[in-house]
């Protein structure tokens, strides 16, 4: 596939890996954090971790929408699917996340939950099935939000009365700043998300870099992108000068995608948001803005109250921050494993806990 295969070239990957090994020699151990679930996935899929020297530690941050969606959101979504005449539409990612007593996967087998590739597909279904109420689960960061915003705008244009969004959207920079401040996490470099950056540009990373003196490299998702970005971070650490570098210049513009940003902030506005395992982060979430409140599921429907249980013993929050590893978790592998995930970090098959599970003896 064009513009993908070239960035997986094994001889170049080997060369960069050797450079990383050489240039990291003698370096005090460093934590580099990637904050995008797709980076976590790529690192695991291409087997990159095993090729890095021991003193360069790649930790996965809270960039996985599955992992940071609060349990009560899942419980409410399951309750919505239980209501007669409502069909819940969702990206596939959410279906296996455990709620208090059920999951969306179980609702799917009753025909009350449907998976879509694009949020627009759910609006078009609503258009063709006016006798049903459609709720789309809006999760994902700035890459996904414009696609949901465009879909809501389409629903408004078509004057649909049976389409709603349940927003669980979050934005990245406030979470990155929280982690940058945290001395326990001790981040020495950020691998910044490729496609979130394509939307938001480099502005926020410049702020974080200046305030906290942390090197930032915007990295593509292919193995050569990730390896080159790690090398760039190592070189920044050695030069003791932190700056923002754009490795993914073939897609990311410094200003971001202005049309997409305008669309996001026309349809959504910023609010505080609860991150599973971390807690409430101010100004880190998105809710439908005034002109689009008619499409807000929570505001326009009689939804039942849900009782959400507390995750006992689950240390997903510390794992998401990179402070603890899955091996530190009492539930790991026993109560919580890929077949029966208890915490959100185990649900994603490329998530840090699932990855550790695979490497266990």
């Amino acid at each position: 596939m064009k513009y993908i295969d070239e960035f997986r070239n094994i001889s170049i990957a080997t060369k960069i890996t050797e450079l990383i090994q050489r240039e990291a020699r003698g370096l005090k151990p460093v934590n580099f954090m990637e904050v995008c679930g797709t980076h976590t996935m790529a690192v695991e899929r291409f087997g990159i971790r095993k090729t890095l020297p021991d003193n360069v530690r790649l930790i996965s941050g809270p960039g996985c929408p599955v992992c940071v969606t609060p349990k009560d959101y899942i419980d409410k979504a399951i309750a919505m699917a239980d209501i007669e005449n409502i069909i819940v539409f969702s990206f596939g990612d959410m279906l296996k996340v455990p709620g208090t007593s059920s999951s969306l996967l179980k609702q799917r087998s009753k025909g009350k939950v449907k998976i879509v590739y694009s949020p627009l597909d759910s609006v078009q279904f609503a258009e063709k099935n006016q006798d049903k109420k459609i709720i789309f689960l809006g999760i994902g960061f700035e890459t996904t939000v414009p696609t949901v915003a465009a879909s809501v705008k389409y629903a408004k244009k078509k004057k649909l009365k049976n389409f709603f969004i349940y927003s669980g959207h979050k934005i990245m920079p406030p979470a990155m700043e929280l982690l940058a401040k945290d001395k326990e996490v001790n981040i020495k470099g950020f691998l910044c998300p490729a496609h979130v950056s394509a939307i938001i540009g480099v502005k926020y990373y410049r702020i974080i870099c200046r305030r906290y003196n942390i090197p930032c490299v915007i990295s593509g998702f292919e193995p050569l992108d990730i390896l080159q970005s790690i090398l760039m971070l190592i070189r920044q650490v050695k030069s003791k000068k932190a700056k923002v570098e754009n490795q993914y210049s073939r897609v990311v513009k410094a200003s971001g995608n202005i049309m997409a940003l305008r669309l996001i902030y026309e349809v959504f506005s910023i609010s505080d948001s609860d991150w599973r395992g971390i807690g409430v982060i101010k100004n880190s979430g998105l809710v439908l803005s005034k002109g689009y409140r008619d499409f807000d599921a929570e505001k326009n429907m009689d939804l039942p109250d849900v009782k959400t249980s507390v995750d006992k013993g689950c240390i997903c929050g510390s794992v998401l921050k990179g402070i603890k590893t899955p091996l530190d978790c009492k539930l790991f592998s026993k109560r919580c494993n890929p077949d029966n995930p208890y915490g959100a970090c185990m649900v994603s098959s490329e998530g840090i806990c699932a990855a550790y599970y695979r490497y266990r003896k």
Binding site: F46, P223, P338, S348
Partner: protein, 332 residues
């Protein structure tokens, strides 16, 4: 007749007519036509292989196949990878009250066509109708018996370090085809299930140098290699660059976040073969229509951690575990 009703399953005249006008019409042969309580069979050898499988796939029809074709291939293939040439199959069909007759006919015709292509006969059958909602549409069970070839010595205990691992063709086609038919993802792909009977293909390659075979169905190549690793006790190492995947399947997987290594196949086999015979067996495979894309993808190692390792296409190292649950389209 538009639909099947409970009366068609109660053993009376309606059922007898259905058996005559549908099942015997399309599947009839000297054994089945007797409509005895059992088929009386003769075998030339004493070593027989016997297997059973049930089929509940949704949707019932998908590009490249349907539940009927699958139910024949599934059992024929389990026998084939055990080194046995299938001759006789049984077929039990359960349908829901209200099931569409034309659909049942279409499925029966497909069973007939697949049997013909594999050179097997349905010699015993059963038909039941249950209340609406008791099952989802139609379930089919097939069992099969076959004679183990004199040339075959398939046993997991024969696997030793150094043995080579061959995959007979591209992976992920079947699962991709089912996914596209089941969910409305709105992609135009041309992807078809690889559902095929493998018995004649195996016949053309079977020899003592093939120590073990398995068809990588549910859970895909990675899960099946894990099963083999666990059963044999040895680690397995494979190379991603050697694994054949169709470009369209690969592209779909990149977009939806699927891993072809964990996707089901219904017309492929994995063969564990002696190191020295690997090149010859590969050449024989490639001569057959079902083995044109066969590749040697790895080998059995002497370490005994029972792990499956993948050298990734960019030179990294990955451990492949068994599949944990269904893969679903993702945005992350």
């Amino acid at each position: 007749m538009k639909t099947i009703t409970l009366s068609h399953g109660n053993g009376g005249k309606l059922m007898h007519n259905l058996i005559k006008d549908l099942f015997l019409k399309y599947l009839g042969n000297p054994f089945l036509n007797k409509l005895g309580d059992a088929a009386l069979l003769n075998f030339r050898t004493r070593k027989l292989a016997y297997t059973t499988d049930s089929f509940v796939v949704k949707p019932l029809f998908f590009p490249g196949g349907d539940i009927g074709k699958l139910s024949v291939c599934g059992t024929v293939n389990d026998l084939a990878v055990s080194g046995a040439m299938s001759k006789y199959l049984s077929c039990g069909i359960i349908v829901e009250d209200g099931f569409n007759y034309a659909t049942l006919e279409k499925i029966t015709i497909s069973i007939r066509d697949t049997c013909k292509s594999a050179g097997v006969n349905i010699v015993a059958g059963d038909f039941k109708v249950v209340e609406k909602g008791a099952i989802d549409g139609i379930f089919i069970n097939t069992s099969g018996v076959g004679e183990v070839s004199n040339n075959s010595e398939i046993s997991v205990s024969r696997i030793t370090p150094g043995d080579k691992i061959i995959i007979s063709g591209t992976i992920g086609d079947h699962a991709a085809s089912i996914l596209l038919a089941r969910e409305d993802l709105k992609f135009k792909t041309g992807i078809k299930s690889d559902c095929s009977p493998l018995n004649k293909f195996v016949s053309s390659i079977i020899c003592r140098d093939i120590k073990f075979m398995r068809d990588p169905t549910r859970g895909g190549l990675a899960t099946t290699l894990n099963e083999i690793s666990l059963a044999s006790g040895y680690d397995i190492a494979i190379e991603e660059s050697g694994i054949p995947v169709k470009e369209s399947v690969s592209a779909l997987c990149e977009i939806l976040g699927f891993d072809p290594l964990y996707m089901a196949n219904e017309g492929k086999l994995i063969a564990i073969v002696s190191k020295d015979a690997a090149t010859n067996i590969l050449a024989k495979m490639r001569k057959h229509a079902l083995g044109k894309s066969a590749r040697i993808i790895g080998e059995v190692k002497k370490e005994k951690d029972k792990k499956v390792y993948l050298e990734t296409r960019s030179g990294g190292l990955r451990i492949l575990d068994m599949i944990a649950g269904e893969q679903l389209p993702r945005i992350c």
